[in-house]
């Protein structure tokens, strides 16, 4: 059995947080929210770039499994997770997470499913450009559909036909 050392190190941050001055929680949260709001335009532009890169990457895929291409596409869609919510597009975040799950499952099973990827990218485009006008029920239906598609590959013992 290896030796285990358990101790309680001092935490300077705890003391600093208690020093006089600072901000009330409500003000801090409001200031941070305002700061994020100022990034809205940049975030939207970034997402449009992500969509273009993802579509052109997926378009290069052949019918067979290609690990390098899957890695590239995964990096493109997983890195910006968190950005859409800053511009009020939480549904785009959900779509990106579903696509990342799908790519992760495909990698694990060394498979490629062009249709499953394409349906995610089409939903990404739709949600990015029409979120403001779309009704909540429609958006939820799209996301539920995506989740169903990616979850088809979640269990390797029952691969889809």
């Amino acid at each position: 059995m290896s030796s285990v050392r358990i101790h309680i190190p001092p935490v300077r941050l705890a003391k600093l947080l208690r020093t006089p001055g600072g901000l009330p929680v409500a003000d801090a949260v409001q200031r941070a929210g305002a700061g994020l709001e100022s990034l809205r335009g940049e975030c939207l532009a970034e997402l449009k770039g992500v969509l273009d890169s993802a579509e052109s990457c997926a378009a290069r895929a052949g019918p067979e499994y290609d690990r390098a291409l899957l890695d590239e596409l995964y990096a493109i869609v997983a890195t910006p997770i968190g950005i859409p919510s800053v511009c009020g597009l939480a549904s785009v975040d959900t779509a990106l997470i579903s696509l990342s799950d799908l790519l992760d499952y495909l990698k694990g099973q060394e498979r490629w499913d062009a249709n499953a990827v394409a349906v995610h990218l089409r939903a990404f485009r739709l949600l990015l450009h029409t979120e403001g006008a779309a009704d909540a029920t429609g958006t939820q239906a799209i996301l539920a559909g995506l989740r169903k598609v990616s979850q088809r590959y979640a269990r390797p013992e029952t691969p889809p036909e």
Binding site: I8, L13, G22, A32, G33, Y74, P80
Partner: protein
């Protein structure tokens, strides 16, 4: 837990030195807006693990917020390096890891890297603040052994794993032994539970 976003309770991050590791420019901007909104002034922005390691060797940091960084999870490797670096006091710093998506291959890496908490993106200001306040609590135990170095991951004390005797001096056996003192009288128990008027 649940921090009330309307709370007037104060906290002070002005003098805290915060290291941020985030490869995405937009992700870094989001983090910066959140932290400056909280009043933090000393922010060390690192886009690569190498930059973050160099910063750890140069300055004292009070808080680390690191992204998992891609499918390979370089951010997890950085936290593991930080814990094993023995650069005090930085190696004991509270670490908040953020991750957009965690591939299945990286789950055990994420669990074992030694971070205090792993937050799934998207980040919201109230959730980040809640976690910063939580991980900065004093009195948190730190575990050092061959396979792990970081904060104690036991949040709930459910006893030692089944079939083992435990490795800590204060680990209790699963079997409850015979009582060593007489049972309490029912009147005493009732007295403890009785509702009483409190003078304020």
């Amino acid at each position: 837990m649940g921090l009330n976003p309307e709370s007037r309770a104060r906290f002070n991050l002005e003098r805290a030195s915060v290291l941020m590791l985030e490869e995405s420019t937009m992700g870094m901007s989001i983090l910066v807006q959140i932290l400056t909104g909280f009043g933090a002034k000393t922010l060390h922005r690192c886009e690569t693990v190498e930059e973050a390691q160099a910063t750890i060797q140069k300055v004292e940091v009070d808080l680390v917020i690191a992204d998992a960084m891609g499918a390979e999870g370089e951010g997890y490797d950085f936290v593991k390096w930080l814990r094993q670096s023995r650069i005090e006091p930085n190696c004991f710093a509270p670490v908040l890891l953020t991750a957009g998506h965690t591939p299945r291959e990286a789950v055990s890496k994420a669990r074992d890297c030694g971070a205090h908490f792993i937050m799934a993106k998207p980040l919201t200001p109230i959730a980040v603040l809640e976690r910063i306040l939580w991980i900065s609590k004093e009195g948190r135990r730190f575990v050092e052994c061959d396979s792990y170095m970081g904060p104690d991951r036991r949040f709930k004390n459910e006893g030692v794993p089944a079939g083992t005797v435990g490795r800590r001096r204060d680990d209790m056996p699963a079997e409850v032994g015979e009582a060593e003192t007489p049972n309490m009288e029912q009147d005493v128990i009732d007295g403890l539970l009785k509702t009483r008027r409190v003078e304020l």
